[in-house]
């Protein structure tokens, strides 16, 4: 394999700095919770359903805690109390939390120890549910041959879950290894998860537990048919990132788009909220053995991909540090990056090779996820197809793990059946015709590729040092990533954050945190 020069010393320093950056934030996380996090715990214990106006029970229950100013005690505390005070089930307990006429301030009555004890079996049951799904996935996966890398990842995004299912199967037929159902544009900012099967969504389809099931069924059928394990993925992002992580865990999803900072930067979600939520989400993700996909690729859609190359790498180290703190294994960290350099720049292909290979070497056991060109795509679908071809070539030559396939219609619309078919076909072609290219070539010492790799790593190290000094909060404040500036208390969802009470204790969270 052709390598770029990498100074292991510098890499170690990058990791150390990232660890410190995450430690600073972790102190905040460990003392806070959010409505999203607490709703997730309720779901995990077994609460489900919506009221007649479509509001999820867990929202009604948790909003009430927040309104009462007792969110900092954690939802589990109240659930435990309801169980001790006569609720017949978790569901009943949640309903009481939501609808009981009297206000529970979480004080008096059962002791904290009793509360913990009553929750213990439910916490274990919650874990078992996740573990069962994980085992089922492992078993099914093991019944097929392993998928060679790069794994071909495509999106479906009709807005209608039934059309999505059809297109997911079509994608598998066309050679896809991984199918993602893109989310409706609006969902990130909804502070609840819609319920049931959905057939209307702009720019994508709502992520709901029922929709997850429908696609799981479709991809399982496709696995059986294609004699290849077809992975399913969705988005653990936005104001409900943790709830979705849990849903994905129990619905046996294989991957999740999940990033420690994407929501802050690209959805203007409040930093505090986002950092707390990502931690809860990742605890479930880790337990479920789900692979995360981080979103550093997005930086290059708002910042220039030549100038901003190092921000991707700095952020990957940070995402890695956060993920490690949530118990996610390196083998499950699909750190994101992208092929977004202006294609008309001389030797842009060489810069892309340098970047892709550098990241491959920096994160050798990580299932890194590579995103195709998007920003410089135009409606010239023919040229766009060629642009993607070069992306595919670098993908196979540098052995990226997960490759989201580019679509020639990128600048036009969400991919249609034909677009996806042709993209898969072109990718199969490239992965075949250039199969061993990576093993066949070497990069010149001191050549353009080597120099570019060295430069980018140096800049990443510099940036990490700066972020470590100023803290991530301030670094984001001055636009260190994606040229986007956010403030600590600005953005959406800040009201949903609460400081944890000294008595905060969630037995399920404790079990999850016992991992690693």
């Amino acid at each position: 394999m052709a390598n770029v020069p990498v100074d292991v010393e510098k890499v170690a320093r990058c990791r150390a700095l990232a660890r410190e950056i995450a430690t600073d934030v972790q102190a905040y996380i460990d003392t806070h919770t959010s409505v999203g996090a607490e709703r997730t715990m309720l779901r995990a214990y077994g609460a489900d359903g919506v009221d007649d106006r479509g509001a999820p029970l867990v929202n009604l229950a948790v909003d009430r805690l927040r309104d009462n100013g007792v969110l900092g005690l954690g939802a589990a505390h109240f659930m435990g109390r309801k169980l001790l005070l006569g609720a017949s089930s978790v569901q009943d307990a949640a309903e009481r939390m939501a609808f009981a006429p009297e206000t529970d301030r979480g004080e008096g009555g059962p002791s904290d120890a009793e509360v913990r004890a009553v929750l213990e079996p439910f916490a274990k049951a919650a874990l078992t549910r996740i573990d069962d799904a994980r085992d089922a996935r492992d078993a099914l996966k093991a019944s097929f041959a392993a998928t060679p890398t790069p794994q071909k990842y495509v999106i479906v995004a009709t807005g209608n879950i039934y059309d999505d299912a059809l297109q997911a199967k079509a994608a598998a037929f066309g050679g896809a290894d991984i199918v993602a159902v893109i989310r409706a544009t609006a969902q990130s900012l909804l502070d609840y998860v819609p319920f049931g099967a959905t057939t209307e969504g702009y720019g994508g389809t709502f992520a709901t537990q029922e929709n997850f099931k429908i696609i799981r069924r479709a991809t399982d059928e496709a696995s059986a048919k294609e004699k290849r394990y077809i992975q399913q993925t969705n988005y653990s992002s936005g104001l409900c990132m943790a709830e979705i992580a849990w849903m994905a865990a129990v619905e046996r999803l294989d991957m999740l788009l999940n990033d420690a900072m994407y929501g802050i930067l690209f959805r203007d979600i409040n930093m505090c909220r986002n950092f707390v939520d990502q931690y809860f989400a990742r605890r479930f993700i880790a337990r479920a053995g789900i692979t995360i996909n981080t979103g550093e690729d997005n930086y290059l859609t708002t910042a220039d991909a030549v100038d901003g190359a190092h921000t991707v790498i700095a952020s990957q180290f940070i995402n890695e540090a956060f993920a490690l703190r949530a118990g996610v294994k390196e083998e499950k960290m699909g750190l994101g990056h992208a092929y977004e350099i202006n294609p008309w720049i001389e030797d842009s292909f060489l810069m892309e090779i340098a970047q892709a290979q550098l990241i491959r070497q920096l994160f050798p056991v990580h299932p890194i996820k590579w995103m195709p060109p998007t920003k410089h795509k135009t409606g010239d679908i023919f040229q766009s197809h060629v642009h993607d071809a070069m992306f595919n070539l670098v993908g196979i030559a540098t052995n990226q793990s997960i490759e989201l396939l580019g679509m020639f219609s990128e600048a036009v619309h969400n991919p249609m059946l034909m677009d996806r078919y042709l993209s898969l076909k072109a990718t199969k072609y490239m992965f075949t015709t250039a199969k061993h290219l990576g093993e066949e070539i070497e990069f010149k010492k001191d050549g353009r590729i080597a120099k570019r790799a060295i430069q980018v790593l140096d800049e990443a190290l510099e940036l990490l040092a700066q972020v470590q000094t100023e803290t991530i909060w301030d670094a984001i404040g001055r636009g260190a990533f994606g040229d986007i500036k956010r403030t600590r208390t600005g953005g959406k969802g800040y009201k949903g954050v609460a400081e944890r009470d000294a008595r905060y204790h969630d037995p399920l969270l404790a079990l999850l945190e016992a991992d690693k």
């Binding site: 807005g159 297109q167 079509a170 037929f173 066309g174 720019g203 203007d268 708002t302 969400n414």
Partner: protein
């Protein structure tokens, strides 16, 4: 309206003048084969293509076939009949823009946002922020403009409230997501809201995005539309013509 050629009635051109050659691709729910080929031919003929050539037919999903078809289109388009509203503003130099606004005596206050659930800020940022687009600096960079960029996912309500609060003279709306025409709905809703509040005439309303053109913007009740490739200086020139026409000589 300018007429570009003496020939007004255009056919498509491929190989030889007037051959009408066009290329189509599509998917039909039929497995490949002789019947599928015939179906594709008839489908192409229904579009007005003669001698359709089915260049390829491939199974692209169970029961679905992808086709590439070429044919001679019988259709023509009479371009002499096309009247497209075009923004007639001539490009102005930065100096000219600054001088004119200076003459007018006060800054032009503009508020921009990417509205609804749309989070694509790159376009509106390109127009408003200092950095600009393709080397052309944004409105923020002009002394004569007071540019407020509210960013993404701004609801119409909030946009109007902020515009009023800032005494803005122009509102700049960006819409990138167009799936099932949500951009049009969002735009119409804004115009309705302003009309209902009696504020429509208070603002010059600009609409922009990769799928927007001047014609569409006018149809939706905006004052101007800007499509892909718009430069900040185009927008500046347009606004200066509106708010600081060359004749204006006020304090």
């Amino acid at each position: 309206m300018k007429v570009d050629t003496t020939e007004h009635v255009l056919r498509a051109y491929g190989d030889r003048h007037g051959d009408g050659m066009v290329q189509m691709s599509f998917v039909l729910e039929i497995p490949p084969g002789a019947r599928a080929r015939e179906a594709a031919k008839r489908f192409a003929e229904a579009h007005g293509l003669s001698e359709p050539l089915v260049a390829t037919q491939e199974l692209c999903a169970e029961g679905f076939t992808y086709f590439v078809v070429y044919g001679h289109s019988k259709h023509t388009v009479d371009v002499s009949k096309i009247e497209v509203p075009e923004i007639s503003t001539e490009p102005l130099s930065r100096e000219e823009i600054e001088t004119r606004i200076k003459k007018r005596g006060k800054k032009i206050v503009v508020v921009g946002a990417c509205t609804g659930s749309d989070a694509h800020t790159v376009g509106i940022d390109a127009i408003l922020n200092y950095k600009g687009f393709a080397g052309d600096k944004g409105l923020e960079s002009y002394k004569g403009f007071d540019a407020h960029n509210l960013g993404a996912q701004v609801e119409n309500d909030e946009l109007v409230t902020r515009a009023v609060a800032l005494s803005a003279e122009a509102i700049l709306v960006s819409q990138v997501i167009t799936q099932r025409n949500c951009h049009k709905e969002n735009a119409i809703a804004l115009v309705d809201l302003l009309t209902k509040k009696g504020l429509r005439d208070r603002f010059v309303l600009l609409f922009g995005g990769p799928r927007i053109d001047h014609k569409l913007a006018l149809e939706l009740g905006f004052d101007a539309g800007f499509g892909p490739g718009t430069k900040p200086s185009d927008v500046a020139a347009f606004l200066v013509e509106k708010f600081a026409p060359p004749s204006v000589e006020v304090a």
